[in-house]
Symmetry: C4
Subunit: 457 residues, 4 copies
């Protein structure tokens, strides 16, 4: 008689798990049978007065799936249709953003590759991370090669780079520095050493030929390295460039500043000096963008606004449903307290809050925020591609995971999903046991085998 | 009593699924128990008059397997033997075509490889797709290297290539072009730019030394690139060759024209100019083929004709069986309507149309079409290797999949196949659930991680 | 009463499958219940006279496992111990041979590598199979490089090689040949050709400087290639060497003759000339072997003889057991015929022939033959390493597989092995179904995708 | 009644396996039902006198889990908390040691890499193990290159290396040796040879320029190799260095001596001379370590001492528990002997010895020993990194595996673990069968296929 009073939203017909506390003797409802909910006497249920009938009907309707609601009362499943629409437009928006983002990231990556080929001597792409030199002469050669290439950059490069002045030592454009220990008398022959581990940094500045202060241009050739106590040599400078490839996608170009650092690392003092180039790019809006014959495209912005509005509507509807659930819960608790003089346990109270709605609300908030940032990026008043990518990506992930909910409306899928959910705890438990042994082996293997083998590192 | 009136062709003895609508209370017949077929009263079946007996015998015979037919009436399973023969000859034909096709494709691939080694400077096979230059001088060097190699081709090449004249700019043989933006003032130093994104193409023609119009031969050295607004440099020309390797297989050689395009791509304006070579081959019949001492081999053509005839026979026999099924269905529906005054539902009507026959008919049509094209290719009046490959390949795939049908005639295999078919829907359903989550992760991963990692791209 | 009269040797206690024809109503005995064995009336079995009792005891004893025989009659399991001993010594012998064989094969492989580095220009080990040239000059360069290196071999090589004279054209040591079509007028410009596909071979001989006939030494520089109809260029010569590394293992060195062929292949006429080196080695006994201070080691030969004797003993014992089985079968058949007037079906007759004994006999024959060859190799009167390797390897494989038999003597293992054997037919059946579809896809994929992708080839 | 007298520690509630010998008719207790324990008559158990009640309570308490003990008697689970603490601190200690160890191993690896780049001609990192030469001139070139680089080492190297004098031939610093057969007349042309396999070693010493005995410096150029009987050429010398990188981790630098051996191996006499460099490092404490401004860090040593103390405490507690178990066992055996006049079988006696405690004791001993060595390493009086790594690594592995024990205190995990343990024997048995067949194939494959394929070697 009581079974079927109201059904959980997870399995309307098949996995129906009745949650009135008095029915806790059901063995299938294994998650909650450890909670000590009070068990009422059976005669409370015999009088089925008006009020009970009313709340029973309310509950029944509340836990129906959209399809059942349509069959029962003829209410069109507007929210369901809205969600299906959202899946499509959110994915389309993500795809558009993905293409824009790809252009920006590729520009940075390709410039890094160009700098490596231009500024590093004997650079070979296939063994990228193993560039190293072993003799003093080679260290000087690589160092001077880089500076020389920097000075002649405008003549040799295919791209269009501009120097950034007054950022280095003594207002120069390029800083050539060496770091060494304050004192570093090492005498392996006698097994003695006398070291002061404080680090001293010694820099000179170099300016391009175009700058009148010419004494800074050629002085770098006299830069002498203190090999016996050297820690590293760094060459730092900045270059500016404009990513005009975006014109093809009808977007206005961005301005980039590349912070380039070339490091010759002798920290290990093992006779091997590793060399690598780091490139950090910052994106800014260009001043005075002038693209002839370019009709500003409002289409994308319009689409983004549309997405935001759909998500806002979805947010409001889901919020309303969530609120209704909470209100119904209050009413239900009130009824139980007044009529039956019993408390409703927390597990049953949580049943009224639909987890899917919370997921949808989070997804909606992410999409709206992401869309606003995207509009900013497109109108070139913002350039935070990364945050926008994370927001839109996560939101799309959530929306797609939400599709699982719609599959539970089909009987066959519902059985499958309930089965999988029931099997999950045991699988996780087994993984825990394996993980513990695995962790032990990892720690042991890292120490005992690790340093002798490249792959374990 | 009614069970066994006629059996589905899928499982004569073991998976026999009786499909008379009145027997829809069988639980095993799960696919159709949702359809509302009318249920007749049982007494209709009691009078087993002449007509019913006749149609019952017809149905029984129709749904028998070839082996059962042989045992029942002694009818030799000609069609079965024909299909087994077809599997063999279709596979042999495919193997023959595969060898011919391989020769044609290999010739094209090896020529492409040759062109890359001849026309691209510093080409290295192991890093094929990463050829790129980073300095202005290198761009000029690579460009002039290609043109110079083209002009001296007959002296250096091991193969035998002929220039194709009058296809380039100003009736020249080779077109050397650059594309650039109409206006492209980029000033990264001040973060300003003034671009007109309309693309201007600027070409010069180059002619080999053998052509009298010599001014076109050396003028290419004056070709100046506008690096600051350059989009790409393309070198286009055509070469002709003859694939005489086919003589070894007793086939007449084909004539090839190679459309070679070398692209130096600066679209990204990232300081890196990617270089690649594209080679498109068109195959034509040579004029005036003269191979001394070559007796034209009719064997292959004869074999192809034989295959076509076998397939035509199979097509006719399968078509006849299909037609008989439809006619028997009409008769059956008529009988039900007149005698029992009931309609036969669609699920039962479809039982009369054997899916395997449709598969065989499609396969036969593909083989016949493919064989005709193959005869055309062998007699050098056609050269569409690709279409022929798809037709013959698909047809062989279908014929081999059809072998599954013959396995169902064995009792043990039939059980296995029916079991697998029953398990399929649940497996697909599970895959759907996984796919939805996977899709969500893909979209999210592509945007959030994609651009930073080469492998995800 | 009859169950347990005698048990199959496969499952003494657990999988006991009673095989007297009269007990064919047992459902577990599924393999043979289709055979039409005559079923006697039950009363035949009631009179258990003397004769029946005797044959029953004989059968019971025959089908016992060695352990049971020991428990029943106290007969020591000599044969079992012999087999366990055989596993050890056969494996040891194989290991000894493996080490010798490795030395011989390595010597050949390393010499091939040396020849590639010495005779091939620009040879790079990492891209071994892709050495190719694309210009006429390169073909001449590679050809002359090889001949020049051959002529100066004694001065440059680290190894000790001797020329082999009078094996080439005109009694020379090295043959330099080109093969071309008799007629090969190819005119791609006009799409015409005139080919006579008969192949003409044109050779010159080259002799090392040490040979007085000096005109053969330098004439090779005038060798002109007919590129427009060239099929291939081959350089063939022989070198002799002695593998003295075997002295370390106390073995007498072998003499090797290397047949070296360098091929420049233009068969495809695609502008790419592939170059490769083939090296075929023949092993002979050296004349006059003289190793000072080398005491001939008889240990190995002694061991090989011991192995042969053990295997011979095993062969005799297994043969005797097999013979006894056949004799007992005759007796049993005779008894059935005379007493019961019934025939014994073939399935039951085969039960008397123990498959494991056949396996052991084959293994023994292989080991004895292999040991004889091995003794021949060690005393340097034979050099057929390959045959010996196959014989000893296969024999060891069989002996190890035979270990499975001893595992069935343990109760727990017997259950496992019987279970696996029962599951095998269904697994094979499933694999058949998959294989058919897989084959279809393979044929289709090879033709449709194959030529365009390197990996499918 | 008797069931539940005392429970195994492995499954307090769920997998309770009663082990009194008289209850061996339980089918679940499958491990021991083959042992012939005496079965007492049932009436012995009827009289439940005082003594029995006492020992029963003792046993019950002994086999309780820590949680149950807490619930039963309120005893705080100090030992459990101590073990959980141990897991954390042992892992932290291992991580600290891992970082130190990594620095030491990396220093050695990078120096080896440096030596290979400095002393080996044409060394290429990507094809590390295939460096080989094929001509006599190349052997001399590589040999002289190495010696020349050694002599000029201080001028060229980036690191700081010191020569080690008086360790080579004639008190020199570098030994250049060749090994050859005493007699080695090989004549492949006539297939004859005359070899005396005794090995002769011929060495010269080379001294750096700084040493006054200059005649040893340049004489190496006259070193002539006897190629026809050469076995190998070795160059041996030692270099000293100091690993000052450890200053960054606030550790005092170690002194290293590198024993470098360069081998040119002609053992195979196959025309290919393989070249490789071996580097063996020995770590010693430096004399007179002087690091200005370096406050000796006592933190690590303090932590190591703390770890040792915790493990000592754990060792004592576990030892006490183990002892108590043995004492209770004695008492129990005594009781059985006196009261019931029965012996307790070994399987039941072993129940009293908790395997987990033994595991913990071993782990504790390892950690304490390892910690002492670690303190020695940190105070630079020891340098045996390897032993310390093995001790600490193994100990951490054992501690982590011990976590499994704590999981059995949770009901759900206990079921899982008992299930897995029950399935293990059958899995191992199956693996045995597969292993036997696999071994056979391995032996066969090694001999028959092995030498022809690189991967099988």
């Amino acid at each position: 008689e009581q079974a079927g009073l109201f059904s959980s939203q997870y399995g309307t017909q098949y996995g129906s798990t009745d949650r009135i506390c008095s029915t806790h003797d059901h063995q299938t409802n294994s998650n909650h049978n450890k909670q000590n909910c009070p068990t009422p006497t059976a005669d409370h249920w015999v009088r089925a007065d008006q009020e009970e009938e009313a709340i029973r009907r309310k509950l029944k309707y509340f836990f129906m799936s959209p399809c059942d609601k349509y069959h029962a009362k003829g209410r069109k499943p507007y929210k369901l249709i809205l969600q299906l629409l959202k899946i499509v437009i959110v994915t389309v928006q993500l795809a558009f953003f993905g293409i824009s983002n790809q252009v920006a990231v590729t520009f940075k990556e390709e410039n890094t590759m160009t700098f490596k080929h231009l500024f590093l001597k004997d650079y070979d792409q296939s063994s990228d991370d193993s560039l190293a030199v072993y003799t003093q002469q080679d260290v000087y050669d690589h160092m001077f090669y880089t500076v020389k290439k920097y000075l002649t950059l405008p003549e040799i490069t295919v791209g269009r780079y501009a120097y950034v002045y007054d950022i280095g030592v003594n207002g120069s454009a390029l800083s050539l520095c060496q770091q060494y220990y304050k004192k570093g008398q090492i005498d392996p022959a006698n097994d003695t050493f006398n070291i002061d581990p404080h680090i001293v940094t010694d820099c000179i500045g170099v300016n391009p030929l175009s700058v009148p202060n010419t004494q800074l241009t050629s002085s770098y050739k006299n830069f002498t390295l203190k090999f016996h106590k050297l820690i590293n040599v760094t060459i730092q400078f900045q270059l500016k460039a404009i990513n005009i490839q975006t014109i093809i996608n009808n977007e206005i170009p961005d301005c980039y500043t590349f912070h380039i650092t070339i490091v010759m690392d002798n920290k290990a003092h093992s006779g091997k000096v590793k060399i690598w180039l780091e490139n950090q790019a910052t994106i800014r809006e260009c001043k005075d963008p002038s693209v002839s014959g370019h009709a500003e495209s409002y289409t994308r912005v319009t689409f983004d606004v549309a997405v935001s509005l759909v998500c806002l509507l979805s947010l409001l509807l889901c919020g309303r449903s969530l609120l209704r659930g909470i209100m119904l819960q209050q009413e239900f608790v009130q009824y139980f307290k007044e009529t039956l003089d019993r408390k409703v346990c927390w597990a049953d109270r949580l049943e009224f809050i639909n987890g899917w709605f919370i997921l949808l609300i989070i997804s909606d908030i992410f999409t709206i925020t992401g869309s606003i940032i995207k509009i900013g990026i497109e109108s070139k008043t913002m350039s935070s591609y990364d945050i926008c990518a994370i927001l839109l990506g996560t939101s799309t992930l959530l929306v797609w995971v939400g599709v699982i909910r719609y599959l539970t409306f089909f009987q066959k899928y519902n059985i499958l999903i309930i089965t999988l959910r029931a099997a999950l705890p045991n699988v996780i438990r087994f993984c825990c046991c394996v993980a513990v042994i695995y962790l032990g082996f990892c720690f042991c293997g890292w120490i005992v085998l690790g340093p002798y083998h490249v792959k374990v590192k």
